[in-house]
């Protein structure tokens, strides 16, 4: 995949996860017991063999940079190509930021100086496991200008607000797209990933900026559906859309389904993340665990049910965790009860405390709190 640049576009303000994104970008929200959301997109690129990836950041990117480091886990610690972090070229109050295309335009030289023929642009809140090779081959064979990736979901059961849906004809051509389910409700959900020829991308960015249009999806793609050949490529695997705290919670809980677990974490490739070198998890005599995902480094002495424990969580004797997500290094004291909660990293629940959330509206406890 010498011929492709991967781009992860985090340049669109996206604060739908409230508390979870207070001090981090959505790309670095922990997910699935040991990952950050960006790991999925970045691993997809690594598994496709892409060795040059640009991450367009916006703000709150400190934790993201700590997480990515030199990109070693994704084989991006390279002299030739490698990982590029591209923040907006100017420091600005958020009010001046007009849209993600502004950030692309600010780094237009990055595209101009590259030799690769194709660019794959993704975001990080659409969690899936995909090898882009087939989609790229489809893009080349169909001689498309733009190829959009989509997934079929059931609009009656999945919350598709904030999603774009597509109307695709029998030649795989996109006829229409809209984020308004009253206009289009086909269940063909645009995964906010597309493939485009590099030179065309540069032209289109420059054209948009010249016309003071700044939104990548709307200005660059949606407006051009009739002008350019915009095709759609269907991804068949699992897709989790994270666009609210509730969907974060629900999509996390879906991982407790063994089919989803296998489908998201193993097929077609493995998901890489920052290695923590934690030992295997340890279950003491009094442990009573079921229907749960447990990452390494945990020590479980109490009861854990329908829950997700990130790396290094400690659950003391007599404690009960139910329907909850406990991020890295949470500690739950003896006899404490935690139900329907999301505990951000390093939360400490003292012995005997009881925290009962609401199943339909999970409560998030702020990072490093002690209760």
């Amino acid at each position: 995949m010498k011929n492709v640049i991967g781009v992860i576009n985090l340049g669109k303000p996206h604060s739908m996860l409230d508390e979870l994104t207070r001090n981090r970008s959505i790309a670095s929200v922990p997910f699935g017991g040991r990952y950050r959301l960006i790991d999925f997109t970045l691993s997809n690129m690594a598994n496709t063999g892409i060795s040059k990836v640009a991450v367009f950041t916006l703000n709150k990117s400190r934790s993201l940079m700590d997480h990515l480091g030199s990109g070693k886990e994704w084989q991006l610690d390279r002299k030739i190509g490698g990982l590029f972090m591209l923040p907006p070229a100017i420091t600005f109050p958020t009010a001046d930021y007009k849209g993600d295309l502004q950030n692309f335009y600010g780094h237009i030289d990055y595209f101009n100086r590259s030799k690769e023929e194709y660019v794959i642009v993704c975001r990080s809140h659409m969690v899936c496991n995909v090898n882009y090779s087939d989609a790229l081959q489809f893009h080349i064979d169909s001689e498309a200008d733009i190829t959009m990736l989509y997934n079929r979901l059931d609009p009656d059961t999945v919350d598709l607000s904030n999603c774009y849906q597509l109307e695709v004809d029998e030649h795989h051509r996109v006829r229409q797209m809209s984020s308004d389910a009253d206009e289009i409700n086909t269940g063909n959900v645009y995964m906010e990933s597309f493939i485009i020829n590099r030179t065309l991308l540069v032209e289109m960015i420059e054209h948009c900026i010249a016309h003071e249009q700044y939104d990548l999806t709307e200005s660059l793609i949606m407006q051009n559906i009739d002008t350019f050949q915009v095709n759609a490529y269907q991804h068949e695997g699992h897709l989790s859309i994270i666009n609210s705290t509730t969907s974060y919670y629900n999509q996390s809980m879906r991982l407790l389904n063994p089919d989803v677990w296998r489908g998201l974490f193993f097929q077609p490739g493995l998901v890489y993340t920052k290695i923590k070198d934690e030992p295997p998890s340890k279950y003491i005599e009094t442990a009573d665990v079921n229907n749960s995902l447990i990452a390494n480094g945990c020590i479980v002495q109490g009861r854990v049910e329908n829950s997700i424990l990130f790396r290094g969580v400690k659950v003391a004797k007599g404690a009960t965790i139910r329907n909850s997500i406990l991020m890295q290094e949470c500690e739950i004291g003896e006899g404490a009860v935690v139900e329907n909660m999301i505990l951000d990293k390093e939360v400490c629940i003292k012995r005997g405390q009881t925290l009962l959330g609401n199943a339909s509206e999970p409560v998030v406890i702020t990072k490093r709190s002690t209760i």
Partner: protein, 385 residues
């Protein structure tokens, strides 16, 4: 090339015949241990945690397998441009190939490698022991004492002294003499096979030893006795923590079971001294609604639909519905069917076990059952030792 104060030479040559089916395809240091690790991870992690960044790994057999496991050394922080980890098998030379004739000869044949780093001190260790030790503290003692060689010692039960190299020391921990596997030991201070030498001193002994046709070219049998005889200053460094030679099936099983104590002597959860290993990039383990896990160590990528009790599961192990695992060690990617009972068994990597099998014998004094790598046990089979 920058001079190194100290480099390590790790003897990983053991064929490990006593580990039977587990070492058919693997060198002994590559045998899985503790749910996540391979035996050699402990000594490599000790090196990097001790600040030693140059490790030559001496192997007699299968250099490509060790090469492939060690890679460029990244997991142990040993991916260094100047130094790092290097596998050193015996090469074909212009005058033909030479096996390493003994532990001392293995170092002797790699003098060229060592001299590249021009070290003051050299640490000689074995790749088949389980322990956590700060070699830097030992080096500081070596320097402070002005020793020419320092040997790490541990107290062993008197009844086991016949299995070890036993040292006799004076009140100041100077080594007086050394007996290999004595019948009537004078002390219970056993050599852990961990030596620090001044390189110039060791080099002269290795060179002389190489010229001696009657030598077996072994540190314990030849080099150390000769140094004692010539009254070099040999100093004992006492070690009091967990240390285990896992050279037999029994000791391998015991060392794994030791980890299942609520507060084991060898604490893997110590963040100050992590044990590093190659990461398989598996997701968190899944314990199903009908599954359970008690008194066990379970690694990422496992799916447990049955019950796991007082056992160690490596990554990617699947345990089917209504199956029970007890007092056992299940190595990576083993698939266990439904309604299977497994007692006091070690199962090698990649083995597949059908439904309704019973493996091993229940009970604390039962013998250990061993199933080799990549075996296939058809449904409804009973296997025991």
């Amino acid at each position: 090339m920058q001079r190194k104060e100290i480099i390590a030479m790790l003897l990983a040559g053991g064929e490990g015949r006593r580990l039977g089916a587990l070492t058919q395809k693997l060198a002994k240091p590559a045998v899985p241990f503790g749910g996540k690790y391979r035996i050699i991870d402990f000594t490599l992690s000790n090196c990097s945690n001790s600040g030693i960044d140059t490790v030559g790994v001496l192997t007699q057999y299968q250099p490509l397998i060790l090469n492939s496991y060690l890679g460029i050394g990244s997991p142990w922080d040993l991916d260094r441009s100047n130094g790092g980890v290097t596998v050193l098998p015996p090469y074909v030379q212009s005058d033909g190939g030479h096996w390493y004739k003994g532990t001392a000869n293995a170092i002797f044949q790699n003098i060229f490698y060592i001299e590249r780093y021009n070290p003051q001190y050299i640490l000689v260790i074995s790749g088949d022991h389980i322990y956590k030790m700060d070699y830097d503290k030992m080096l500081q003692e070596h320097k402070k004492r002005g020793a020419e060689a320092t040997i790490a010692l541990i107290e062993v039960p008197w009844e086991e002294t016949g299995r070890f190299g036993i040292m006799n020391v004076d009140a100041h921990d100077n080594i007086l003499d050394f007996e290999e596997k004595p019948k009537n030991a004078k002390t219970n201070l056993a050599s852990m096979g961990i030596y620090i030498f001044n390189w110039d001193v060791l080099k002269s002994y290795l060179t002389r030893d190489d010229e001696n046709p009657y030598s077996s070219h072994d540190f314990g049998k030849d080099i150390i006795p000769r140094m004692l005889q010539e009254e070099r200053s040999l100093f004992a460094y006492r070690f009091k923590d967990y240390w285990k030679d896992v050279g037999t099936i029994e000791s391998l099983w015991e060392a794994n079971m030791d980890l299942l104590e609520a507060f084991p002597t060898l604490n893997l959860h110590d963040t100050e001294w992590r044990i590093y290993s190659v990461n398989p990039n598996h997701p968190p383990q899944y314990i199903a609604p009908q599954g359970s896990a008690k008194q066990s160590l379970i690694n990422e990528g496992c799916m447990v639909f049955g019950s796991v009790d007082h056992s160690v599961l490596f990554y990617g192990v699947q345990v089917g519905d209504k199956s029970t695992i007890r007092d056992s060690i299940i190595m990576p990617n083993v698939k266990i069917g439904q309604n299977v009972k497994i007692y006091k068994t070690i199962i090698g990597e990649g083995t597949v076990i059908g439904d309704n099998c019973t493996i091993g014998v229940e009970g604390a004094d039962a013998p250990i059952t061993l199933i080799g790598e990549d075996s296939f046990i058809p449904s409804n089979t009973k296997v025991k030792n």
